[in-house]
């Protein structure tokens, strides 16, 4: 009986005018969006390779004098995410690189600098198509599946037979979804073929697994929206009412709730920009360095006041023996204070962001669309997780450079009471070719799933709840 219903729903959908329209939209837009984003990705990779090569050359040419002069700025570039062909996420808003100096790191420009005014309308990628086009079509397909059949009288004709209502409902969902899923699957596979022709690294690392996760999650997302459409259809007795209700529900889930979640989170927990934080850190460093220089100058003046000529340069002079440990102690304390205060700024910033993000995520979970977009962006390496990994990598790279490069030169800047300044250096040799390379350790699939537990739970709830609701409604549905 179930198969009979599935077959009927499948055929009825296929014979309707909506089906070829949907199939054409899928088969054209999905591969096209993948091809366009593949080309954009390939360009970003070329840019990345060129910029990394130039940065490597610049790093290899670093001289100890440059470090002494404080003019060394090493760039660490983020490799474009291959799966950005599915969703752009933060791909173009993340800094392409970070610049590392003795005073810390600061973000470079992002790929948005290359964009035109047209990009303010949003980018057409696979996830956009699924969220904005396919989800709406899925709901529209479902809109008249119950109310439309009631209106036409065929529901009455079917239920005049020994047909359990749960069988009818699940058969409708099964058949209707299959009619949507098959063209979508074909479009996806076609898109994958297009990607492979474009030398997309499908077999590299865990990319294939991630692509499968994208396919599976998207299929379930379409099923979710289809079932929401059925739930709306079982709540009304007229197809036209269903249609209006569906458009309202869709707009709420797609346009209102996710944006509202982010807006409320931004209002409730405002967060400074990364540039502001970098500036704050720079000012702090400058202020601490000035304080240290003053303290060093004061101590130096106390020790060397009245000392014989050349005492400061003679390591064995009693003044110098007194000065060296004091200088080291002041510098060590200054370094510790600087490190603690810089970490405190970073920690405060991260906490602010975490708080804002947590609220935004929690609010957006009301919409399956937001949960889906966040999950897919993380799976594709263009989401929040990637941003966190990027920042983590930047911090550890700064530490590595501090150890391997910047600490090789010790500058002692002193500000004397009379207003004069002096500087002394002590340097160790630096092998620029052995400097650490900037790399971001990508989140594993397991990490991604764990980090997205809330989104996955939301998607699961949204998958089950509409079905349960539709079932409860349909069991008592007045078919007269």
């Amino acid at each position: 009986m179930w198969r009979t219903i599935v077959k009927k729903e499948l055929l009825e959908t296929i014979f309707s005018y909506r089906f070829p329209l949907f199939a054409v939209i899928c088969l054209l837009l999905v591969p096209l969006s993948m091809a366009v984003n593949q080309a954009a990705y390939a360009k970003r990779v070329r840019d990345y390779s060129d910029q990394v090569r130039l940065a490597d050359e610049a790093a290899a040419a670093i001289k100890i004098q440059d470090i002494m002069a404080g003019t060394v700025a090493i760039r660490g570039f983020r490799r474009p995410a291959p799966l950005s062909v599915f969703t752009q996420g933060f791909e173009s808003t993340l800094p392409r690189y970070y610049e590392f100096t003795q005073d810390g790191f600061k973000p470079g420009e992002s790929a948005t600098d290359d964009e035109t005014i047209l990009s303010v309308q949003g980018k057409v990628d696979f996830v956009f198509l699924v969220q904005m086009v396919i989800s709406l079509i899925a709901m529209l397909f479902a809109s008249d599946m119950v109310s439309g059949e009631k209106e036409s009288g065929t529901l009455r004709a079917m239920l005049a037979n020994s047909l359990p209502r749960d069988t009818l409902l699940s058969g409708k969902i099964g058949g209707g979804f299959l009619a949507l899923w098959v063209p979508f699957l074909l479009a996806f596979l076609f898109g994958a073929v297009v990607l492979m022709f474009g030398a997309f690294p499908l077999a590299g690392g865990d990319t294939a697994v991630r692509v499968l996760i994208v396919l599976l999650a998207t299929s379930l997302f379409i099923l979710t929206y289809f079932t929401i459409g059925i739930a709306v259809s079982t709540s009304t007795s007229k197809a036209r009412t269903s249609l209006v209700a569906i458009l309202i529900v869709w707009a709420a889930f797609q346009l209102i709730v996710p944006r509202l979640g982010d807006m409320i989170a931004r209002l409730a927990h405002p967060v400074r920009t990364e540039t502001q934080v970098s500036l704050q850190k720079s000012l702090l460093v400058r202020s601490l360095d000035a304080e240290t220089a003053k303290e060093l100058g004061r101590q130096y003046d106390l020790i060397f006041k009245g000392a014989p000529e050349g005492a400061a340069d003679n390591e064995n002079s009693p003044e110098r023996k007194k000065w060296d440990p004091i200088r080291d102690d002041i510098q060590n304390r200054a370094r510790e204070t600087k490190s603690q205060q810089l970490s405190a700024i970073d920690e405060t910033y991260l906490q602010e962001r975490r708080r804002q993000l947590d609220l935004a995520v929690n609010l957006s979970l009301v919409s399956p669309s937001a949960a889906f977009a966040r999950f897919i962006a993380d799976v594709c390496g263009t989401g929040e997780l990637e941003r966190a990994k990027y920042v983590e990598a930047v911090r550890s790279h700064q530490m590595a450079l501090d150890n391997e490069l910047f600490s090789k030169v010790k500058r002692t800047l002193m500000m004397h009471e009379g207003g004069g300044m002096s500087m002394s250096f002590s340097a160790q040799p630096v092998d620029a070719s052995k400097l650490p390379r900037f790399t971001i350790t990508p989140a594993t699939v397991a990490e991604t799933l764990k980090a997205n537990a809330r989104s996955l739970i939301s998607l699961l709830v949204w998958l089950i709840a509409p079905f349960a609701f539709a079932y409860a409604k349909f069991v008592k549905y007045d078919v007269r």
Partner: protein, 248 residues
């Protein structure tokens, strides 16, 4: 007519809707195998409510209805195995052909092993034009849809047939063909309960005719009794007495 166990039976069947309207008031009715029972009445008399109760679409407020001895309220799915239903406007899937519609509804009716020939035979039996067999039904006339609806009932081959205003809107030729098919169903031993406004066809085909008014069966006559009475006059008399206390 020999007495058999009634295939369709209403026993003190009442229905009061949520808005308080008493649509059916203690209806007692039996339809035997090989019998056509015509329910006459104005709009709102309770004819369609009776059919809806037999199909389990609405629960009774009190009383019971039985199909082939099975209480519809208690086991609607089992009861509906033994009944076919043809509505006033036979609703079919417009994008399906006549045969596809027939196949779909036959399968819902539990007939999963029927062949193309079986479907063609059923459609020939209801005099549907051969060229229409594999045409999409969206362009079918009401008469053609009605015939297909009856073909669906025929292939289900249930002992009881419920018809809700089946001749409404049919042209005289189609209505005459319809009556012929009803007569065949009677010959096959089906118990047919037909709600209708059509007094003349009810008299022509019905083995028994009941008149409903305000949810009550106010009159019942057999074919033999109607030989000596003017059903048209009876019907008008009963309708005119609306507002006065109903009496059987």
């Amino acid at each position: 007519m020999a007495e058999h166990q009634a295939i369709l039976k209403a026993d003190g069947l009442s229905k009061r809707y949520e808005d308080g309207v008493l649509a059916l008031d203690r209806l007692n009715l039996e339809v035997q195998p090989g019998e056509i029972y015509c329910l006459l009445g104005a709009n709102g008399a309770g004819k369609t409510t009776t059919i809806n109760l037999f199909l389990g679409f609405i629960p009774p407020t009190s009383g019971s209805c039985f199909i082939n001895g099975i209480d519809v309220s208690k086991d609607p799915l089992e009861a509906k195995k033994y009944v076919s239903f043809v509505s006033e406007n036979v609703m079919l899937y417009g994008n399906f052909t006549a045969r596809q519609n027939l196949d779909f509804f036959a399968r819902l009716g539990g007939k999963t092993a029927l062949t193309k020939d079986d479907y063609y035979r059923a459609m020939r039996r209801v005099s549907l034009q051969e060229k229409a067999f594999d045409q999409r039904v969206k362009n079918f006339s009401k008469g053609m849809r009605q015939k297909l609806g009856i073909a669906i009932a025929i292939v289900k081959d249930a002992p009881a047939v419920l018809l809700d205003e089946p001749t409404s809107g049919l042209d005289p030729k189609a209505a005459a063909e319809f009556l012929d098919i009803m007569a065949e169903l009677r010959t096959e031993g089906k118990a047919v309960l037909m709600s209708t406004h059509d007094i003349f066809r009810a008299k022509e085909i019905g083995d028994r005719v009941g008149i409903m008014r305000e949810g009550r069966l106010v009159m019942e006559r057999t074919r033999d009794e109607l030989h000596n009475e003017d059903l048209n006059r009876l019907y008008i008399d009963y309708m005119e007495s609306a507002g006065q206390p109903a009496s059987a």
